[in-house]
């Protein structure tokens, strides 16, 4: 028997793979100053039981590799700063090409959303 719970989880994970990148890019584009990982995690409410983000199953720890990958693609830039308490923090901000990419990705997202909504609503003919 196929584990239903497991397939739900897999579907969520597949969906979140792209949407998390879009969400993080958007959060950083809206922020007025560079943010570090912990703040970003708080903002999306990742890892909080019952929050929106936990519905798409993002753990706070899973944000960091996404931030790194966005940075490698030169959509984000980062700077390390010492903090008074604890280890140095890595502050991220959106680059110019990140802003352009965000616009393009938002468009793709809207197209996808419209398409899926249309199909789910049964009015695709």
């Amino acid at each position: 028997m196929i584990d239903i719970q497991e397939t739900h989880k897999k579907f969520r994970k597949e969906l979140s793979a792209g949407t998390v990148s879009l969400a993080l890019l958007s959060i950083l584009a809206q922020a007025e100053e560079p943010l570090y990982g912990y703040q970003i995690g708080k903002l999306v409410g990742a890892g909080d039981e019952g929050s929106e983000a936990s519905a798409i199953s993002v753990k706070q720890g899973a944000i960091y590799p996404v931030l790194r990958s966005l940075e490698i693609q030169e959509l984000l830039s980062s700077e390390r700063e010492l903090s008074d308490s604890g280890p140095p923090r890595k502050y991220y901000q959106v680059t110019e090409s990140g802003k352009e990419t965000l616009a393009a990705w938002s468009k793709i997202w809207n197209e996808t959303k419209t398409f899926v909504d249309k199909v789910l609503g049964g009015d695709y003919q």
Partner: protein, 307 residues
């Protein structure tokens, strides 16, 4: 009851074992991210709430961060979707995609390979960096040993050892940028909650400090070899390539050779052939640069990135 430091250390150990087999640099990045997050989160809860039950709060923070298995998986899947640091440029993406079909760029394709150009630049600057690293390492070690008997000897040695770590990190960035070998993207920091004795012990007994100094010393002979080989290959190739210009344009004899005790000269119409030979040698040079870059990247990783 475990202290918060112990809990964080246990989590980091779990994460490290969950990442077994992953790229060493990925492991180092993942551990640094996790430690930054856990400590920052704990610190911010501490300021928000007086008399916080720290161990319990930390368990909650780890809960939201995600368990070690899950986080390890996240890093590995993101890491595998990015072939290398060079993949950010379109030219590199093309090379990588063509390299997937064919493991080598082809004889002339090497000119479009950023790794070959990176290797070339690296080899040319390695003489300068090699001299700097060698001088610094040798000065550091000998000054430290020399003043060891004095009270000021200890801080002096510590400063030098710390600088070795910093240089190892910077060299790592250079190696990743030019040679494409994945290196740590952030310096490993020492835990500020540890006592100075513990930190000093880590610095002195840590394998990474000493391996870095060995690397710095070896960079001088390697730099000399890399630089010399590259300069010779490049100048010989260029000389061969421009030989028709020299022969026809400036009437400079090209292709002289000694036959017994007579000096003979190849007719000028041979010079285009010499030029073609030069193009071949130049292309071969690019292949050498690409190969040396690859091998040196592995070597740098072995010595500069600790497990």
């Amino acid at each position: 009851m475990k202290t918060t430091d112990e809990i964080i250390q246990t989590y980091l150990d779990d994460l490290k074992s969950a990442l077994a087999g992953a790229d060493k640099a990925t492991v180092q990045d993942a551990l640094a991210d996790a430690e930054e997050h856990l400590r920052t989160a704990l610190e911010s809860e501490r300021t928000e709430q007086e008399g916080l039950e720290e161990s319990a709060a930390l368990e909650g923070i780890i809960q939201s961060y995600g368990d070690a298995q899950e986080i390890a998986q996240a890093y590995q899947s993101w890491e595998s979707s990015i072939p290398s640091a060079l993949a950010a440029t379109p030219a590199a993406r093309r090379t990588i995609s063509s390299a997937n079909g064919k493991s080598y760029p082809g004889f002339f394709g090497v000119y479009a390979d950023p790794r070959a150009w990176g290797g070339l630049v690296y080899m040319l600057i390695s003489l300068a960096t090699g001299i700097i690293y060698f001088t610094w390492a040798v000065t550091g070690i000998s000054v430290s040993l020399g003043v060891m008997v004095l009270i000021i000897g200890i801080p002096v040695s510590i400063l030098f050892l710390l600088s070795f770590r910093g240089i190892a990190f910077l060299e790592g960035r250079l190696v990743e940028a030019l040679l494409g070998e994945r290196m740590p993207r952030r310096a490993s920091f020492t835990d500020s909650n540890l006592g100075w004795k513990e930190r000093l012990k880590q610095l002195l007994t840590g394998k990474s400090t000493w391996l870095s100094s060995i690397y710095m010393i070896l960079m001088l002979p390697l730099g000399i070899i890399y630089f010399t080989v590259m300069v010779v290959l490049i100048s010989v190739s260029l000389a061969l390539i421009i030989s028709p210009v020299l022969a026809y344009g400036f009437n400079i004899p090209v292709g002289t050779f000694i036959d017994g005790d007579v000096v003979r000269q190849l007719p000028n119409y041979f010079t285009p052939l010499i030029s073609i030979l030069g193009v071949g040698l130049a292309t071969g040079t690019m292949h050498v640069a690409r190969w040396v870059g690859k091998v040196h990247g592995k070597f740098a990783k072995a010595l500069l990135v600790s497990d």
